[in-house]
Symmetry: C2
């Protein structure tokens, strides 16, 4: 086995960028048409070659004349001038001479004719048969914009390295520039490596997953002004990888490789990156977490190659920290990292001597924006879905406290907070029938954290709406006891709908189960729900009753059930595990069983309601959400889902 | 003459949008490749069709085994298992069965083989000749990410109307989507009307100006997700305009017309827009200032046509207020208007019963962001150059006070404040020699407001650097007396360089001028500089001396000079006016005269220095600015400009 790479020269991102900086080459210059200059970067200082306006220009509709002819004119002592039968419009070039004692009609934007030196606005005049009566005097240059008074020939109007957007293109147009010198967009080759990767759109065989980084990185490259060049997926094979990297180097200005996650895959890419030099590898790992195995190399032609971590959210963080600054410098862009100030919603641990890069999800509350840390190294794609950005935890901090203010570095500009946070228990009807009926201006963020955590988030005012189905073990009553106990005076409860819970079994029920007792007795391998999930409460309640009946302890009973500690986060996950043979049974809603064509033994109907913080009742999106619950179309959709039914008071306040 | 349009049904922007809203059609749906989905808007709710991960996946490099085989293992009581000679890598699909008492090597990302239910990380093991020694026990599913635990089959992963950027494309890739349903980009036809307009790049003949709105609007359309279709320039001719609008309607989803500024041009476009109906014109003017003559019409095919004001900054404001919301709705985008809070730097007047839309320039000061109002209806293109956005002054406010907090609506996302504000007197060397030597990370904003206003801005801490050349009439001394008098303890003065001032005359000096006296005596038509300009101080000083010598009052003398009240803002403007025959003489620096090949009679050398607020001395960009003054390359460049010379102490503090 070849020697493993040991990263013992870890650099901070700043140290790494300092080293990289010497190898960054400024993009070449190209000329683009003015209309194609959107979001391009000016490559030269631009000086005006003409005056703006290029002539003395009327700024009002009125009459061009000599100011001195109007001196003394007012309402009581109007002045009369000979009116020419000509009129001057914007764009006219054949201009009459205005003689003393005469005037000529002129439109806004038209050039001031020779002899005249001012314009009297039309509202202070009257025209009678070739005579102009003037009721207000003007001084020289009144209502005239003089040539060059806006932009002067020779003036520096835009500096190189300016990003061209609406305003900048206007200034270029004003001075007549039609070919704009801009920096070429850097071509950035993107390679994803890993034997397990397949292209989205293809079928997944066993052991394979879809390639994600090619696409997140390509979009990131576009966001940073580059032109992505998708090289595809390469196997963890040294020769193959070297081939594709050399091909990429011949086509692109910068090569990005997002790597395998295993030590073996890292070894391969490290050796290849060192071989493209000299100089080869110039950054041997970063002292950040995640992102330690980040490698930066320089080819013998002097092109940079960056090896990014394999997990999508980690790859995106290192892209932000290392690659965006490279792309910015190539194009002479001084990128601003979009940052939002937020308070940590809960305490988060540091990375013990390394700089922690922790993805966070942002929630807007009454008391400001809260940042929820997400698992940094899990490789979960939901991290991407939920994380608006990441925080940096300094090397010397063991943890950041709950409530501590942090800078959240956003993954993209244009962070738009959701205006409806739905947290709590995952529900099929919510996904398929309610949310699609919300008007488009509502941007909902659905975070499936289970009933109990959802209720807590509502009590803290972080959830706008929390879908809950919590059974009180003593009374068998749903939701109300929990809201009264924990949320009195803080949240209200809106009646939701009924869902049928039951045992989900493989199609055809091969083990011949007919009751909950059978499930336990036959020691079927189950898939459980996560703690805090309403269905978990139900399952544990049934288990406790079984334990009581059979004279065993609940704990021992639980331990004896294969898969009891195998937790799935949603109903469909339970169904999927059974459909794919990973488990033989589970408890969940009928709708999930039907989705996967599985067998279902009903256990109980449960109430799924919505807890809403008092402070959010007047929020538009919340009011609309509640009104959709009462909507006939929603009720119709809901009733068509197997195992769902509405209540007589669906959408009304219970508490 | 046809009846003039009277706008007597003015609507607020909100009322106008309510009327328009009923005519907006949602864009059609098209499918794009995943890699082409950047900044597109999802047209359908997307549900996961696969689980993520699709199988139980190892999250560490280590050994797959049965957790129960490790129970009780620790450093003192290691467990030994038979080690298979196979190993499972990421992407492997042919998986060995792991039997009781055995283990198999597994890499991060690889599928858990049948029979095993956990992974022991490599660091807690030792391998010896086919035997694995394990020093730590694991429980089932330890170091395994279970199938579907990240995203479940059937889960709603992205809602329609979501803008696709890095994170969203990652979620789509994760579930294997390669064709993405998105709303088609609205095709937006852009027409500029006006007899005076010519395309940038062509030659300007008398009376003509360059078309600006086509380009600012086109870039605005791209920013709002549309696809601009440049229709070009149309004359203020009813038949021609109707033809191009009907052509545009046949090609585009939305038509934008930016109109002539004269009443006559407005009449024409109004009549044409009414004729494309029914319904024809649906919004007859807005009660905003500027932007009153905004017209919105609907063609008989049901397409919207918006007639925007002619002045570029006005057109861009109305584009933001009216057109962006239309484009957003067509694509189901809930656009966030980027807004910055700022304080009014000076008082600004309202629009008396209309809503004032006032472009503002933003300056970052120690005490926060200040908004400088710019002339709203001037038609100046510098308004575009300086205005980062605009404020709305409510209908019922006569004015907004200095210091009042306002919301500045930015023209574009990604507002990046300049990090070096250079205010004060316009200087050729500053433009051509100093600023180009600043490193690219310095984003300079040069605002030519004259020496005195520049000094004041430095004293208020709004300018980082103010270029000044102010002569003390009593002592003839430059700059220092002014800084001592007004800025003691607030600003310091950095020595700049010398500039040669003189009389600028047409090439060949046709009137045979040889002195300042000749200029006055021969009553040459002059072009003056604005009040507060150092050159104006010099001119007035010379004029006062002349008046004293000749026994006339300064005021009378000034009045008798043709063009005395014709003010130009920069030296090059003075030279341009003379070169183009609009004036016969002016006072300015030699460099400007040389730029235009004009004659020059030296009057004096003056000092051009830089006032810097004490509070800005430690600012990086300011320190670099001062260091560039001392740079040899700068001194070399400066000395090569006619009429410039450096001082022995250039770049050093005088005060």
């Amino acid at each position: 086995m070849p020697k493993r790479v040991i990263f013992h020269e870890l650099k901070t991102p700043e140290e790494a960028l300092a080293v990289i900086s010497g190898f960054i080459k400024r993009s070449e210059v190209e000329y683009v048409n003015l209309e194609d200059s959107y979001m391009r970067v000016l490559a030269e200082d631009v000086y005006a070659k003409v005056d703006v306006p290029p002539f003395d220009r009327a700024t009002m509709d009125g009459y061009a004349l000599r100011a001195e002819d109007t001196f003394g004119a007012d309402e009581l002592h109007p002045v009369k001038l000979r009116l020419s039968n000509l009129s001057i419009n914007a764009g006219d070039s054949n201009l009459p001479l205005v003689e003393k004692g005469s005037a000529v009609e002129i439109a806004t934007g038209a050039p001031l004719p020779p002899g005249s030196n001012a314009v009297v606005p039309v509202e202070y005049t009257k025209v009678d048969d070739g005579t102009l009566t003037i009721y207000r005097s003007v001084t020289p240059m009144d209502n005239v914009m003089s040539a060059g008074s806006d932009i002067m020939m020779g003036e520096l109007i835009l500096r190189r390295c300016t990003l061209i957007k609406e305003r900048e293109v206007g200034v270029l147009a004003a001075v007549g520039i039609d070919k704009v010198p801009v920096f070429k967009r850097p071509r950035v080759a993107i390679i994803s490596s890993g034997n397990e990767l397949v292209k989205p759109g293809s079928l997944l065989s066993m052991g394979k997953i879809y390639d994600i980084n090619t696409y997140t990185i390509a979009h990131g490259v576009r966001e940073a002004g580059g032109e992505p060049l998708l090289m595809g997926i390469v196997k963890d094979d040294e020769a193959e990888m070297e081939g594709i990297i050399r091909d990429a180097l011949s086509k692109a200005d910068l090569v990005l490789l997002s790597g395998g996650t295993s030590a073996g895959a890292l070894d391969i890419s490290y050796r290849v990156l060192d071989r493209i030099g000299p100089p080869g590898v110039i950054v041997h790992g970063l002292n950040v977490k995640p992102g330690k195995p980040t490698v930066v190399a320089v080819s013998k032609e002097g092109k940079l190659v960056v090896g990014l971590p394999g997990y999508p959210s980690s790859a995106l963080m290192i892209f932000n920290i290392i690659v965006k600054p490279i792309l910015a410098k190539m194009q002479c862009l001084s990128l601003t990292q979009p940052v939002i100030r937020a308070q940590m919603a809960i305490r988060v641990e540091g990375a013990r001597g390394r700089r922690g890069l922790n993805p966070v999800s942002l929630v807007e509350t009454e008391s400001g924006v809260k940042a929820y840390p997400l698992p940094a190294e899990s490789g979960a794609i939901t991290t991407l879905a939920y994380a608006e950005g990441y925080i940096e935890i300094p090397e010397n901090r063991e943890f950041l406290e709950e409530g501590e203010w942090v800078n959240v570095r956003l993954f993209t500009h244009q962070y738009k907070p959701a205006n409806l946070y739905i947290m709590g228990s995952h529900d099929v009807a919510l996904d398929s029938s309610l949310i699609p009926l919300l008007p488009d201006w509502i941007t909902a963020k659905v975070i499936n954290i289970g009933s109990l955590e959802g209720l807590k988030a509502a009590i803290r005012g972080e959830a706008d709406v929390a879908g809950i189905h919590l059974i009180d073990e003593e009374t068998g009553e749903y939701n109300e006891p929990f809201v009264r106990k924990y949320g009195e005076g803080k949240v209200r409860l809106v009646a939701g709908y009924m869902r049928e819970q039951g045992i989900i079994l493989p199609k055809g029920n091969p083990r011949g189960i007919s009751s909950f007792e059978d499930l336990i007795r036959l020691k079927l391998r189950i898939v459980n729900r996560n703690k805090g999930a309403g269905t978990r409460f139900l399952f544990d309640k049934l288990l406790k009753e079984y334990a009581l009946r059979n004279g065993v302890s609940f704990e021992e009973l639980a331990k004896s059930i294969p898969g009891y500690y195998h937790e799935a986060r949603t109903h469909t996950a339970v169904a999927a595990a059974i459909a794919q043979g990973r488990a033989e049974a589970g408890v969940g809603i009928r709708a999930a069983a039907e989705m996967y064509g599985l067998d279902f033994i009903p256990l109980a109907w449960e109430r799924y309601d919505f807890a809403v913080p008092l402070s959010k009742l007047s929020k538009d999106s919340v009011r609309v959400f509640i009104s959709v619950l009462k909507d006939e179309e929603f009720k119709r959709r809901l009733s068509s889902i197997p195992g769902y039914k509405t209540l007589s008071n669906t959408g009304e306040f219970i508490i």
